[in-house]
């Protein structure tokens, strides 16, 4: 059974059809790439899945349960997590506190008032920071991180609740080639724990980490399947390469 299933999802903004009856499915532990020219609806699809936008029609299912009408918080509880295209770390807080905020979200408000999980989460926060090469920046405020480091911080925060499905919208935008490679290495071990749906312009990056690939063009799914197969597809070559 699929972990994520989008059925005939459409999103209309005024006169613009950003998504046109899009179907998409992601299996457990699958890394799935989503590509397409600018404005083709990739971010909109991710937002519809995460709950930042409500589809005009169609439905979104997670583990077979319809989540189309749930709030973002309820979706997070159901196992969804995302990093938006625009980085949104809490710029005035320390790097450490950003991660703590993401990791403590399962505690009740009463236990948060008494700071009951602060001590227990410390090791986890530091482990996460080590893994994402941010440990030596723990005490610095997040706004002072480089763009690439902010992207890592966001991924670290998105993974805090151990989601079943991680949605990443252009996580390597603005990164140097070395940072890109490091990002791929950070994501690879996640395969055992969760599925990934990733929007990315760098086709080499997609080829390296994704099992399957979906191509969007003007709100419509042009092709979807195993990464190698989709890449060979003539329609994809013309649609994607002509616009990109």
């Amino acid at each position: 059974m699929s972990l994520l299933e989008c059925r005939q999802v459409s999103k209309i903004f005024g006169a613009l059809t950003a998504l046109d009856h899009a179907d998409l499915s992601v299996k457990p532990n699958e890394f799935h790439g989503l590509i397409g020219p600018n404005g083709s609806g990739k971010s909109t699809l991710l937002k519809c899945i995460a709950g930042a936008e409500i589809p005009t029609s169609g439905s979104v299912l997670l583990s077979g349960v319809d989540i189309t009408g749930l709030t973002p918080a309820e979706r997070a509880e159901a196992g969804l997590s995302l990093k938006f295209q625009i980085t949104a770390v809490l710029a005035e807080l320390s790097v450490y506190d950003n991660v703590l905020l993401a990791q403590q979200s399962q505690s009740s408000w009463l236990s948060l008032m008494r700071s009951r999980s602060r001590g227990a989460l410390h090791e986890r926060v530091m482990d996460t920071l080590q893994r994402f090469k941010l440990a030596d920046r723990a005490d610095d405020i997040a706004g002072t991180l480089s763009h690439g480091q902010q992207q890592w911080l966001e991924i670290a925060m998105a993974l805090a609740r151990e989601p079943k499905l991680l949605l990443l919208d252009e996580p390597t935008a603005g990164m140097s080639p070395q940072e890109r490679r490091a990002t791929g290495e950070l994501l690879a071990p996640m395969r055992e724990r969760c599925s990934l749906l990733i929007v990315e312009h760098d086709l080499d990056f997609i080829r390296d980490i994704c099992d399957s690939l979906t191509v969007l063009d003007q709100g419509q799914i042009v092709a979807s399947g195993r990464t190698q197969d989709v890449q060979e597809d003539e329609r994809v070559k013309s649609a994607y390469l002509s616009h990109a």
Binding site: A73, R75, S81, S105, S115, Q130
Partner: protein
């Protein structure tokens, strides 16, 4: 923004300690008038703290703090005058409870819910509530109409009467200090971290699984409870409670206290109350008809040119934003990790 340094300076604790020391010894040098004056500052300080909690920490623009204050003031005045209840051990909890209940009802209207209300909606909703209740009180003879309820009896502790003066002063200071310490702990707790997240990027942290509306509603109710407590203390201190203590004028004054002193620091609100009330007093002596104009201009200048309030001259952005993790332990652990 003006401060690129990421070092965590600690100006706030120093200011807190100095002010506390002054407050403890002030009655030794003040005459009766100024003891009453300062006691009033403490009581209004409580309500300014409550506004700082909602605005400075949770980002809720509430013009309703006077409503909770006044409703609690009226309720306790009524049980004192009609039922003869004057024990401080009943009056203060009842005042707090009234503040809590009224603010909860208000929160149900303007904060809780699936859809996120806009800041303007919350501001206008609380302002309207404050306005409507003031009008009702003015027209309702049972609660004294325009005149309010005067000649309240004194608060008692057992057979002891708590008269205005040094005893009331230290009682108000004790309550203010207790509330202050609890709020300091709350705003620096993991709950406070969630509030910091809400203040900076509410939309984002919903995706971590936080039901941000609930956090805001809970914070709003805690603030309502504090406002209520202040209302009870105020009525018995002045011997009077009236419609003016319920309405938009006092609500707005509270907003100014906090903005003038500096929101999001707690201590800034107390400083705001003290300084504005002092200015008002002296200005009204100098120019007894036109003084609000000067006060208004002064407030405008501070709010426009120093959005962080007066305390912004001493406290940097980093200290205001705060630190929530295990301070010290962090650095130790990462040094260990580096080796």
């Amino acid at each position: 923004m003006s401060e690129p340094s990421t070092k965590l300076h600690r100006a706030i604790p120093a200011i807190e300690i100095v002010l506390l020391a002054i407050a403890l010894f002030l009655p030794l040098v003040l005459d009766d008038f100024w003891i009453l004056f300062t006691t009033r500052v403490f009581i209004l300080g409580l309500i300014a703290l409550s506004f700082d909690l909602v605005w400075g920490y949770a980002g809720i623009m509430s013009f309703g703090q006077a409503l909770f204050f006044g409703m609690a003031g009226y309720s306790t005045a009524l049980i004192a005058t009609k039922l003869g209840v004057t024990s401080v051990f009943l009056i203060v909890p009842v005042a707090a409870l009234v503040g809590l209940v009224v603010s909860f009802a208000m929160a149900l209207l303007v904060i809780f819910g699936k859809r996120q209300p806009s800041m303007v909606f919350v501001a206008l909703g609380t302002l309207t509530g404050s306005y409507v209740v003031e009008r009702l009180a003015r027209g309702w003879s049972y609660v004294g109409g325009q005149n309010g309820i005067s000649s309240l009896p004194r608060l008692t502790a057992g057979s002891y009467e708590i008269s205005e003066g040094p005893v009331y002063y230290y009682m108000a200071l004790g309550i203010l200090l207790t509330v202050y310490v609890l709020l300091r702990l709350l705003t620096r707790s993991q709950f406070g971290l969630v509030l910091a997240g809400i203040r900076q990027r509410e939309e984002r942290i919903k995706f971590f699984g936080y039901r941000t509306q609930n956090y805001k509603g809970i914070t709003f109710c805690i603030a309502g409870l504090i406002s209520g407590m202040a209302g009870g203390l105020y009525g018995f201190h002045e011997g009077y409670i009236g419609p003016g203590q319920l309405g938009p004028v006092l609500s707005t004054q509270i907003v100014l206290y906090t903005l003038f002193g500096g929101a999001g620091t707690l201590i800034g609100s107390i400083i705001g109350v003290g300084l504005i009330d002092l200015f008002s007093f002296y200005l009204s002596q100098i120019w007894n008809t036109g003084w609000p104009i000067i006060l208004g201009l002064l407030l405008l200048i501070v709010v426009m040119f120093k959005p962080t309030g007066l305390i912004g001259f001493l406290v940097g952005d980093r200290e205001r934003a705060g630190s929530f993790g295990r301070i010290g332990a962090k650095s130790a652990a990462h040094v260990k990790g580096e080796v």
